[in-house]
Symmetry: C2
Subunit: 282 residues, 2 copies
């Protein structure tokens, strides 16, 4: 059981982790590397005070060196769900479980919106976890919708289990090695089904399947945390970065504009302080 779990490796997550580290809290920091990829991609950042004209790559490296210098190492797991559990929180990363007394969400801004039907049919034919649910589809027909090359081995695992797989790799230079995989280079527009998923609609065609696997590294806040209040797609927080759920805080781009590194870093600091204040009341 950790005091604090921080989800996200962008400037907000880095800042929160630094403060949790300095203040000697027992914490776990989940970073997929995705958010720092977003920092890395920035050509030139001109408004991170004290570091004029820094490239995104240099800033991402400086962040990494900072946490490293404090002995803080991120855990490279993608959290797919956060659930309240007797006053604490259960965090799932595929079939791995973690527990924490408080959570800071530094999710960034989702680039893919959930597909129509995704949240409604989650757990009823829609799955985020190949290793957890893959075996349920032995000899069946599945669809796989993947946004990140890092999951390619999971696609191959799913293909090895299923009878037939319709695969949509939403990244460049996919190299899926599976005879039973049919590549469909269209983003699903709808997951069809009443009680359970029955088909995936790709706009121009519909494919009947028993299940669909969504392998992505960024989840919408409401997909991740049931009951979390959002407004215009952003996690609703107050000035202390408290969400509507006691013990869950949020920071960075996921809380709203402006989408700026220094704003995110500032909010990560505030969220960490608020989480620590919350822990002291338990």
């Amino acid at each position: 059981m950790y005091d604090l779990a921080i989800i996200g490796g962008g400037p907000a997550g880095v800042s929160a982790a630094i403060n949790a580290g300095i203040l000697n809290k027992s914490f776990i920091w989940f970073s997929s590397g995705e958010s720092s990829k977003k920092v890395e991609r920035a050509e030139l950042i001109k408004n991170y005070p004290a570091l004029p004209d820094i490239t995104g790559k240099d800033l991402a490296n400086a962040f990494k060196n900072h946490t490293k210098s404090l002995g803080i190492e991120p855990v490279n797991e993608i959290i797919t769900g956060v659930y309240p559990l007797g006053g604490n929180f259960l965090l799932l990363a595929g079939n791995k479980e973690f527990e924490a007394k408080s959570v800071i969400l530094c999710l960034g801004v989702e680039t893919q919106k959930p597909v129509d039907g995704e949240e409604r049919l989650l757990g009823r034919g829609v799955s985020y976890c190949a290793t957890c649910d893959g075996f349920l589809y032995k000899g069946k027909k599945i669809a796989v919708y993947c946004t990140d090359r890092r999951f390619e081995s999971e696609i191959e695992f799913l293909c090895s289990v299923a009878d037939k797989a319709f695969v949509t790799p939403l990244y460049k230079n996919s190299e899926i090695k599976a005879d039973n995989a049919e590549i469909i280079l269209k983003t699903p527009v709808k997951f069809v089904g009443e009680e359970r998923l029955t088909a995936v609609d790709y706009g121009n065609k519909q494919v009947e399947v028993d299940g669909v696997f969504i392998l992505k590294s960024a989840f919408s806040p409401t997909t991740l945390v049931h009951g979390l209040k959002v407004e215009d797609g952003h996690v609703l927080v107050n000035r202390k970065m408290e969400t509507n759920i006691k013990g869950i805080f949020a920071a960075g781009d996921c809380t709203g504009r402006p989408y700026q590194y220094i704003k995110a870093a500032g909010e990560g600091n505030v969220a960490a302080h608020s989480a620590i204040e919350y822990l002291s009341t338990l």
Copy 2:
């Protein structure tokens, strides 16, 4: 007439100025150097992400170099009042006047609370401006209460005008050269008077005077801006850093805890973006 006036040279003010500069706004940035002194005094800052173990002095220098690299120079005037004026704002620095369409307050946290009676008798015997009001006290008795060595020449000017001056220098190694100055090394506890100031109460003794001059570099937000809403001594702002007065924004320590450099820098960024959004609606 400027689009934007930024008051304060700490991390919030620096960050706001950087963004106003990058976004090519017509703005004026008032920095007394006091807030960066506060940064300078920090021995070691461990939680400014990307700059591990930076000394306060190095961070203050890095801030200075950053604004300099963008061609931004602070104006070394101490703003003593902000007044609404036909939809815009009039800013007074002693007897100098500036006008701006929007204002960002980055006032830091006041270290001296206003003296009992200070705000009530302001303009009625209590003055913040030696050069503006000094001549009103020709041949009269005054008190001078000064928190910063930089104002020593103003003390000497006041002594040259008045018949007698009771001077309280609240800084080390004062070197006031004036025969008619009597040094009182006690902080005033009360400014006495009904319609006008009649005396200064130092706790153990009371001195009858015609006027008192308060020469300090940090003013409480409510002293500076009449009608500004504060809560627990902090300027009340929403997530966009908007105060209760349209066109006036606030950022940094003056908006509340945690008092952290990165939090202040993040808020300066948000305030600048909000001010620019506000300007676009005018």
